[in-house]
Protein backbone atom coordinates (compact mmCIF):
# COMPACT_ATOMS: atom_id res chain seq x y z
CA UNK A 1 0.00 0.00 0.00
CA UNK A 2 2.67 2.46 0.98
CA UNK A 3 6.04 1.32 -0.18
CA UNK A 4 9.05 3.12 1.16
CA UNK A 5 11.34 4.74 -1.37
CA UNK A 6 14.43 6.10 0.33
CA UNK A 7 16.69 4.05 2.52
CA UNK A 8 16.89 4.79 6.21
CA UNK A 9 19.29 7.40 7.36
CA UNK A 10 19.84 11.04 7.96
CA UNK A 11 20.62 13.77 5.54
CA UNK A 12 22.17 17.11 6.08
CA UNK A 13 20.72 20.22 4.60
CA UNK A 14 22.81 23.31 4.58
CA UNK A 15 21.15 26.59 5.35
CA UNK A 16 22.89 29.89 5.05
CA UNK A 17 21.66 32.70 7.24
CA UNK A 18 23.97 35.64 6.94
CA UNK A 19 27.46 34.95 8.13
CA UNK A 20 27.08 31.63 9.90
CA UNK A 21 26.13 28.48 8.11
CA UNK A 22 24.03 26.08 10.10
CA UNK A 23 23.49 22.51 9.07
CA UNK A 24 19.97 21.29 9.60
CA UNK A 25 19.88 17.58 10.11
CA UNK A 26 17.00 15.72 8.52
CA UNK A 27 15.82 12.66 10.40
CA UNK A 28 13.63 9.80 9.32
CA UNK A 29 10.41 10.10 11.31
CA UNK A 30 9.10 7.01 13.05
CA UNK A 31 5.89 5.90 11.37
CA UNK A 32 2.97 3.62 12.08
CA UNK A 33 1.16 2.41 8.99
CA UNK A 34 -1.98 0.36 9.21
CA UNK A 35 -5.06 -0.45 7.19
CA UNK A 36 -8.50 -0.06 8.61
CA UNK A 37 -11.53 -0.86 6.52
CA UNK A 38 -10.79 0.82 3.19
CA UNK A 39 -8.32 3.37 4.49
CA UNK A 40 -4.57 3.28 4.97
CA UNK A 41 -3.46 5.43 7.88
CA UNK A 42 0.07 6.79 8.23
CA UNK A 43 1.12 8.30 11.56
CA UNK A 44 4.49 10.06 11.54
CA UNK A 45 6.22 11.56 14.58
CA UNK A 46 7.74 14.98 13.91
CA UNK A 47 8.28 16.56 17.32
CA UNK A 48 9.31 20.21 17.28
CA UNK A 49 7.68 20.92 13.94
CA UNK A 50 4.87 23.48 13.79
CA UNK A 51 1.84 22.52 11.71
CA UNK A 52 2.62 25.28 9.21
CA UNK A 53 6.04 23.79 8.56
CA UNK A 54 4.78 20.40 7.48
CA UNK A 55 4.98 19.83 3.76
CA UNK A 56 3.16 16.95 2.17
CA UNK A 57 3.57 16.50 -1.56
CA UNK A 58 2.09 13.90 -3.79
CA UNK A 59 3.55 13.68 -7.24
CA UNK A 60 2.24 10.83 -9.30
CA UNK A 61 2.43 8.01 -6.78
CA UNK A 62 5.27 9.42 -4.69
CA UNK A 63 4.26 10.78 -1.30
CA UNK A 64 6.87 12.93 0.42
CA UNK A 65 6.59 14.11 4.01
CA UNK A 66 8.80 16.98 5.11
CA UNK A 67 8.82 18.75 8.46
CA UNK A 68 11.08 21.71 9.14
CA UNK A 69 12.08 23.06 12.52
CA UNK A 70 12.79 26.58 13.65
CA UNK A 71 15.45 27.49 16.15
CA UNK A 72 14.90 25.32 19.21
CA UNK A 73 17.25 26.93 21.75
CA UNK A 74 15.27 28.52 24.59
CA UNK A 75 15.98 32.22 24.63
CA UNK A 76 18.80 33.24 26.95
CA UNK A 77 19.97 29.68 27.44
CA UNK A 78 23.05 27.82 26.27
CA UNK A 79 23.24 24.13 25.58
CA UNK A 80 24.36 22.07 28.55
CA UNK A 81 23.87 18.46 27.51
CA UNK A 82 22.07 16.62 24.74
CA UNK A 83 20.72 13.11 24.57
CA UNK A 84 18.81 13.67 21.37
CA UNK A 85 19.42 15.86 18.37
CA UNK A 86 16.90 18.32 17.07
CA UNK A 87 16.26 18.54 13.40
CA UNK A 88 13.79 18.30 10.58
CA UNK A 89 12.16 15.20 9.19
CA UNK A 90 11.76 13.71 5.76
CA UNK A 91 10.44 10.41 4.46
CA UNK A 92 9.18 9.23 1.10
CA UNK A 93 6.67 6.55 0.21
CA UNK A 94 5.28 5.22 -3.03
CA UNK A 95 1.55 4.78 -2.96
CA UNK A 96 -0.20 2.15 -4.94
CA UNK A 97 -2.50 3.73 -7.49
CA UNK A 98 -5.43 2.31 -5.59
CA UNK A 99 -5.49 5.36 -3.32
CA UNK A 100 -8.17 7.93 -3.96
CA UNK A 101 -5.78 10.86 -4.13
CA UNK A 102 -8.49 13.52 -3.93
CA UNK A 103 -9.75 12.26 -0.61
CA UNK A 104 -6.49 12.16 1.32
CA UNK A 105 -6.88 13.71 4.77
CA UNK A 106 -4.03 15.19 6.77
CA UNK A 107 -4.05 16.30 10.39
CA UNK A 108 -1.13 17.50 12.50
CA UNK A 109 -1.40 17.52 16.28
CA UNK A 110 1.13 17.38 19.12
CA UNK A 111 3.99 16.76 16.73
CA UNK A 112 2.35 13.78 15.06
CA UNK A 113 1.13 13.81 11.48
CA UNK A 114 -1.88 11.68 10.66
CA UNK A 115 -2.57 10.92 7.01
CA UNK A 116 -5.63 9.03 5.85
CA UNK A 117 -5.43 7.50 2.40
CA UNK A 118 -8.79 6.09 1.32
CA UNK A 119 -8.82 3.33 -1.25
CA UNK A 120 -10.17 4.36 -4.64
CA UNK A 121 -13.61 3.03 -5.51
CA UNK A 122 -12.44 1.16 -8.59
CA UNK A 123 -9.79 -0.61 -6.55
CA UNK A 124 -12.26 -2.13 -4.11
CA UNK A 125 -12.65 -5.81 -4.73
CA UNK A 126 -15.71 -6.63 -6.81
CA UNK A 127 -17.53 -9.83 -6.39
CA UNK A 128 -17.99 -11.63 -9.66
CA UNK A 129 -20.59 -14.28 -9.76
CA UNK A 130 -19.95 -17.28 -11.90
CA UNK A 131 -22.94 -18.39 -13.80
CA UNK A 132 -23.63 -22.02 -14.04
CA UNK A 133 -23.31 -23.31 -17.55
Amino acid sequence: MAQELATQGGRNMTQTNGADTTVEHMFTPAVDIFEKDDTTVILADMPGVASDDVDITLERQVLTLIGRVKNHAPEGYRRLSAEYREGGYTRTFTLSDAVDQDKIKADFKHGTLRLELPRAAEAKPKKITVKAA
Binding site: T7, V41, G48, Y84
Partner: protein, 146 residues
Protein backbone atom coordinates in the same frame (compact mmCIF):
# COMPACT_ATOMS: atom_id res chain seq x y z
CA UNK B 1 12.46 9.18 16.88
CA UNK B 2 14.57 7.32 14.42
CA UNK B 3 17.55 9.50 14.91
CA UNK B 4 20.52 8.42 12.95
CA UNK B 5 23.26 10.52 14.42
CA UNK B 6 26.14 10.18 12.08
CA UNK B 7 25.91 9.46 8.41
CA UNK B 8 29.30 9.83 6.76
CA UNK B 9 28.72 7.60 3.74
CA UNK B 10 25.36 8.81 2.50
CA UNK B 11 21.91 7.48 3.03
CA UNK B 12 22.49 4.09 1.44
CA UNK B 13 25.11 2.87 3.88
CA UNK B 14 24.29 -0.58 5.24
CA UNK B 15 25.46 0.20 8.78
CA UNK B 16 22.61 2.68 9.14
CA UNK B 17 20.13 -0.17 8.98
CA UNK B 18 22.25 -2.26 11.34
CA UNK B 19 22.31 0.51 13.89
CA UNK B 20 18.57 0.83 13.53
CA UNK B 21 18.07 -2.84 14.24
CA UNK B 22 20.36 -2.61 17.23
CA UNK B 23 18.41 0.29 18.64
CA UNK B 24 15.11 -1.47 18.03
CA UNK B 25 16.47 -4.49 19.87
CA UNK B 26 17.56 -2.31 22.76
CA UNK B 27 14.13 -0.79 22.94
CA UNK B 28 12.58 -4.24 22.87
CA UNK B 29 14.78 -5.52 25.68
CA UNK B 30 14.22 -2.37 27.68
CA UNK B 31 10.72 -3.53 28.53
CA UNK B 32 11.82 -6.92 29.85
CA UNK B 33 11.60 -7.71 33.54
CA UNK B 34 12.13 -4.90 36.01
CA UNK B 35 14.36 -2.77 33.84
CA UNK B 36 11.61 -0.13 33.72
CA UNK B 37 13.33 1.80 36.47
CA UNK B 38 16.59 2.11 34.61
CA UNK B 39 14.76 3.17 31.49
CA UNK B 40 16.22 6.16 29.72
CA UNK B 41 13.14 7.09 27.77
CA UNK B 42 12.53 9.82 26.88
CA UNK B 43 15.93 11.28 26.02
CA UNK B 44 16.28 14.78 27.46
CA UNK B 45 18.31 17.85 26.58
CA UNK B 46 19.41 20.43 29.12
CA UNK B 47 19.97 24.14 28.66
CA UNK B 48 21.60 26.39 31.23
CA UNK B 49 20.64 29.96 32.05
CA UNK B 50 21.76 32.40 34.71
CA UNK B 51 20.16 30.74 37.74
CA UNK B 52 17.81 28.44 35.94
CA UNK B 53 17.85 25.33 33.86
CA UNK B 54 15.64 24.15 31.00
CA UNK B 55 14.91 20.54 30.22
CA UNK B 56 13.39 19.52 26.90
CA UNK B 57 12.04 16.15 25.81
CA UNK B 58 10.36 14.97 22.63
CA UNK B 59 7.05 13.22 23.34
CA UNK B 60 5.19 13.31 20.02
CA UNK B 61 1.55 12.27 19.94
CA UNK B 62 0.95 12.82 23.63
CA UNK B 63 -1.38 15.46 25.01
CA UNK B 64 -0.68 17.75 27.95
CA UNK B 65 -2.82 15.53 30.15
CA UNK B 66 -0.88 12.39 29.27
CA UNK B 67 2.32 13.65 30.88
CA UNK B 68 2.87 13.73 34.62
CA UNK B 69 5.71 15.91 35.80
CA UNK B 70 6.94 15.95 39.39
CA UNK B 71 9.72 17.94 40.98
CA UNK B 72 11.23 17.29 44.38
CA UNK B 73 14.46 18.79 45.70
CA UNK B 74 17.00 17.95 43.02
CA UNK B 75 14.93 15.33 41.21
CA UNK B 76 12.65 15.78 38.25
CA UNK B 77 10.43 12.90 37.13
CA UNK B 78 8.52 12.32 33.93
CA UNK B 79 5.79 9.76 33.67
CA UNK B 80 3.39 9.02 30.85
CA UNK B 81 1.84 6.55 28.51
CA UNK B 82 1.46 6.32 24.76
CA UNK B 83 -2.09 5.19 24.08
CA UNK B 84 -3.20 3.49 20.93
CA UNK B 85 -6.30 5.25 19.74
CA UNK B 86 -7.41 3.44 16.64
CA UNK B 87 -6.28 0.03 17.56
CA UNK B 88 -9.01 -2.50 17.31
CA UNK B 89 -8.99 -6.06 16.10
CA UNK B 90 -9.60 -5.55 12.40
CA UNK B 91 -6.56 -3.39 11.78
CA UNK B 92 -3.79 -4.82 9.66
CA UNK B 93 -0.35 -3.43 10.38
CA UNK B 94 2.29 -2.51 7.86
CA UNK B 95 4.74 -0.74 10.13
CA UNK B 96 4.96 -0.02 13.86
CA UNK B 97 7.88 2.20 14.71
CA UNK B 98 6.38 4.82 17.02
CA UNK B 99 6.94 4.49 20.76
CA UNK B 100 4.46 2.42 22.75
CA UNK B 101 3.46 1.89 26.33
CA UNK B 102 4.41 3.53 29.59
CA UNK B 103 7.56 5.40 30.48
CA UNK B 104 9.01 6.76 33.68
CA UNK B 105 12.25 8.65 34.00
CA UNK B 106 13.92 10.50 36.84
CA UNK B 107 16.80 12.90 36.33
CA UNK B 108 18.91 14.37 39.10
CA UNK B 109 19.94 17.98 38.75
CA UNK B 110 23.05 19.62 40.20
CA UNK B 111 20.98 21.94 42.43
CA UNK B 112 17.67 22.14 44.25
CA UNK B 113 14.68 23.38 42.31
CA UNK B 114 12.15 25.87 43.57
CA UNK B 115 8.98 23.82 43.09
CA UNK B 116 6.89 27.01 43.13
CA UNK B 117 8.66 28.39 40.08
CA UNK B 118 8.55 25.60 37.56
CA UNK B 119 7.21 26.51 34.15
CA UNK B 120 6.27 23.59 31.92
CA UNK B 121 5.03 23.93 28.35
CA UNK B 122 4.12 21.32 25.78
CA UNK B 123 4.23 22.45 22.20
CA UNK B 124 4.29 20.44 18.98
CA UNK B 125 5.21 17.29 20.84
CA UNK B 126 8.12 18.86 22.70
CA UNK B 127 8.00 19.29 26.47
CA UNK B 128 9.94 22.28 27.81
CA UNK B 129 10.40 22.62 31.57
CA UNK B 130 12.01 25.75 32.97
CA UNK B 131 13.23 25.43 36.55
CA UNK B 132 14.63 28.03 38.95
CA UNK B 133 17.00 27.76 41.86
CA UNK B 134 15.47 28.75 45.20
CA UNK B 135 16.11 32.42 45.94
CA UNK B 136 18.23 31.81 49.05
CA UNK B 137 20.44 29.27 47.30
CA UNK B 138 21.48 31.37 44.36
CA UNK B 139 25.17 32.14 44.32
CA UNK B 140 25.90 35.62 45.67
CA UNK B 141 28.45 37.95 44.23
CA UNK B 142 30.84 39.24 46.87
CA UNK B 143 32.66 42.45 46.26
CA UNK B 144 36.31 42.51 47.20
CA UNK B 145 37.59 45.54 49.02
CA UNK B 146 40.96 46.90 48.17
Amino acid sequence: MLHTLFDPFGASHPFIDMRRIQRDMNRLLDGVGTSRHSSTYPPVNFWAGEDSIVMTAELPGLGEDDIELTVQDTMISLRGEFKDQDIDEDVSWHRRERPKGKFFRTVELPFRIDAEHVDARFENGVLTVEMQRPEDEKPKRISIKS
